[in-house]
Structure formats: structure tokens, C-alpha cells
Amino acid sequence: MSEDTASEVLDTAARRRWMGILARASASEIAARLRDAPPLPAHTRLRGPETGLVMVRGRQGGDGAPFNLGEMTVTRCAVGVGGAVVGHAYVAGRDAAKAELAAVLDAALQDGSLRPALLGAVVEPLAAAQADRAARTARKAAATRVDFSTLAVMR
């Protein structure tokens, strides 16, 4: 693998991650984090924001052939920043302002000079908050795990 391809793979993994984190955050959560971040670059709308549907698929038996489970709403947006950089967002739900914000952030995060500050001020705190919520749910679920040695002494 050439050095260029390696860094591209790395960038795709990093980009996938921040896009997933931004998609799970609310517009107000993102806006709150942006107060501590450097200003976002000016952008032009290339497409949207527009709301549509994605057909969610499952697999028969959980691991067999795909089937169409049902649709969900999704909002997408593409923005241009500077010359050649395009930012994309596909986010669940119908929040157009959030999709646009996420697209602008996606574009800005592709700029190596802005990335560290935006990761630190926006993406990582959002990721930490999401991980906290998931961990809390997991701990509540764990509290309802049956301990059969306890059940054995129940009357």
C-alpha cells in the first residue's frame, strides 16, 4: 500500500467516525459545542438540505438474505467550502438545520488546519456524551440481568 492510499484509508475511517457522531447529535448539542470552536468557514449549498427516506433492511433469520424492514426519515445536505472541498451529511430524522451544520463541519474537518481544533471542541465531546449515554443504558440493562443463584433462594 502506498503512503497516499494508507492516509486515504485512515481519513475515510476518521471521516466515517465523525459523520456518525454528528448524525447522532442534536442540532442544539452541536451548536453548543461550536461556541468553543474556531469559526466555521463560509459555505455554499450544493444540494439540500432535503428530507427523504431510506429503506432499512434486515436479514432473514438475522444472518440470511436481506429483506426490506421499513423506511426511516433521513435528511441530507451537501455543501462546498473554499475551492474543491465538499462536505456531506446524511442524518436520521427531519432536522434540516442539523444536516446543514453537519455537512459544513464535515467539510471543515477535511481541512487539516481546522481538524484538530474542531475534533477537540466539537467531535470528541459529542462522542464522549454519546458513549456516556450508551454506557448508562448498558448499566441499567446489566442491573436487570438475572442471577440464577439469587433466584434459587427466592420463595
Binding site: R24, G58, G61, P66, K140
Partner: protein
Amino acid sequence: MAYVAVKGGERAIGNAHAWLDEARRGDPALPALSVRQIEEQMSLAVDRVMAEGACYDRPLAALAIKQARGDLIEAAFLLRAYRTTLPRFGASTPLDTGAMRVRRRVSATYKDLPGGQVLGPTFDYTHRLLDFALAADEDMPRPPMPEAQADSAVAPRVTGLLAQEGLMAAEPASDAEPGDLTREPLEIPADRPLRLQALARGDEGFLLGLGYSTQRGYGNAHPFVGELRMGEVAVEIAPPELGFAVEIGDIVVTECQMVNQFAGSRNEPPQFTRGYGLVFGQGERKAMAVALVDRALRARELGEEVGAPAQDEEFVLYHCDNVEATGFVEHLKLPHYVDFQSELEKLRAIRAAAATDARREAAE
């Protein structure tokens, strides 16, 4: 004359809708329900409307419930109508329910299974006694939620454990493009992916009754709940302009793996087979019913005798959709004046002819 009738109908319809709106609001001295309150506090109704409306959007489903005065079939209808106004951006990559962040996961076949029995927020083991404390308008102070150390390991599927021993029929690996009954009319025979789509959006009550019938002897079912799980899964799409897959968010789904005996055939040894149910939201009763009916509908494929209603593909798939069923049943109340007039005239003519015959016979 028809013109006059339409004008009269217009005013009556307008006034009926005004009354509907007043009735929907109820006593104006009471605060109006907010959509957020419905979303949070009627969450299982929201889940059911998303499942039967075949559209995952919690705020929209809550709005539909408010507008429909709590009529959940009407709410599903509203959601289905809304979705037709939106463009389709594409399809997700198939959900990985094995990677679900489980809130509930139980098995009736293995007591000690890796990952454990996780009860989650269940009505099971409640005493079904009305709780009059909830009748008080004020929120009761609640003790903090118990929490316990969570282990990070993903809970393996029970069907996977059986498959390792060769006791569970494997699902053939496939990435075939599934049929979509929202795009093409459903035709019989339908393959299993189409059946699972129809069942996922089917009416919970209808499917529950059918599933129950398989247990009572209408169809040869000996089911076990191999596994029932509910929780969050990530939804991922791969838009062509990106060239890679991105996660657009998480949704809650309920999955049921029903384990059933299979006598074996010339080509296959006796083994277990699966009935599978996957539905939007927290919908355990529905997921179980879907899994029972899915297995019943596999009778022909597995070379079993077909005779019970739940095994009849045409009967099940053409009647499980409550929005379609509502349309055809409720259209009966719309004006059929001309049809009925012709029936009346026919009946009068038959009776008149019969009376003439009777008189003639009496005279002879």
C-alpha cells in the same frame, strides 16, 4: 340533483371536521398534550405506529397519534400517507442485529447463555394491578435507577450456538436485492424476504391471532423462543457520492428467533428451523407473532403439510395490512345508493314474480 347533493355534503363535511377537531382537543380547560409528551410517555403506541406505518420517525408517529385521537390504525394510515410525499434516497446496508446494544435479551431455551438473561424494561412479572398512584397528576419522586457493571462483550445469537453444533438449519448467505412491496404489487407466491416485509408492517392483532392459532393446532408448530432481543442498532447507508458507508443514527428494533422442530427430508437431517420476526421499536408481542407466522409460512418450502390459515400465504399476506383492510372494510359506509337501488329493484321483481306464480298455482 347530484350537484345539489354534493353541495349539501360539503357543508356537512366541513362541520363534521370542525366537530372532530373539537372532540380531538377534548376539554379545553385541560392542558393540551404535547407531541413530545406522547413521544416520551406513550412510547409503545409510538413504536406500534412506526411499525405498522412502516416508517421510523418518533416525532412524526407521535404527531399522528395526537391527530388521530389515539386511533393507532388511523395514525399508521397518516404516517403511510406522509411517506408518499418524500423521495427515497436509497436502502441501508442490512442491520447487524448481532451487534445490537441490548436493553432486553431473553432465551427460553438456555438458562445460562453467554451474555445472560437481561430482562430490560418489561411488563413481565408485574402483577397487572392498576396503580392508582399514577392517577395523581403530580410526578412521584422516584428512587435512582439501579445500575450494575456492564460487560462490554456482545451477546452471541442463540441460533448461532445451535448452528455450531449443526442442529440449526443455516440461513443461506445472500446479498440478493430483496423485492419491495411498496414499489411492486405483492404477488403470490411471495418469497421469504417479501413475506417478512409484509409481516413487519402487518397488524399486530391479526398476526397475534394467527400466531396463536398455530399454537392451538392450526398448523403443526412446536415453537420455543430461542431468543428475544430488543435494543439499539446502527443504521448505515453507502451513498454513491461518498463511496463509503456512513452511520445515519440508531434505531430501536425487536427481534425474535423462534426455534422449531423439523423432521428432516431426503436431503436434510432432522434439525431445528427458525421462524424469524424483526419489527421497528419495542414490540415483543408483534415480533413473536411474526416469528410464529413466518415459520408457518415456510411449511411448503420445508415439505410440510399445508392446510392451516397461518400457512396460507395468500390468506395471511393479503389480509395482514390494517391500512389496506381498513380501506376496503370502511369503504362500505360510503354512498352505494345506485348499487343498492338496483339490488332493491331486483329483489322487488323476484318477489313480485313469486307472488304472481303463487296466485296462479292457487287458482289452478
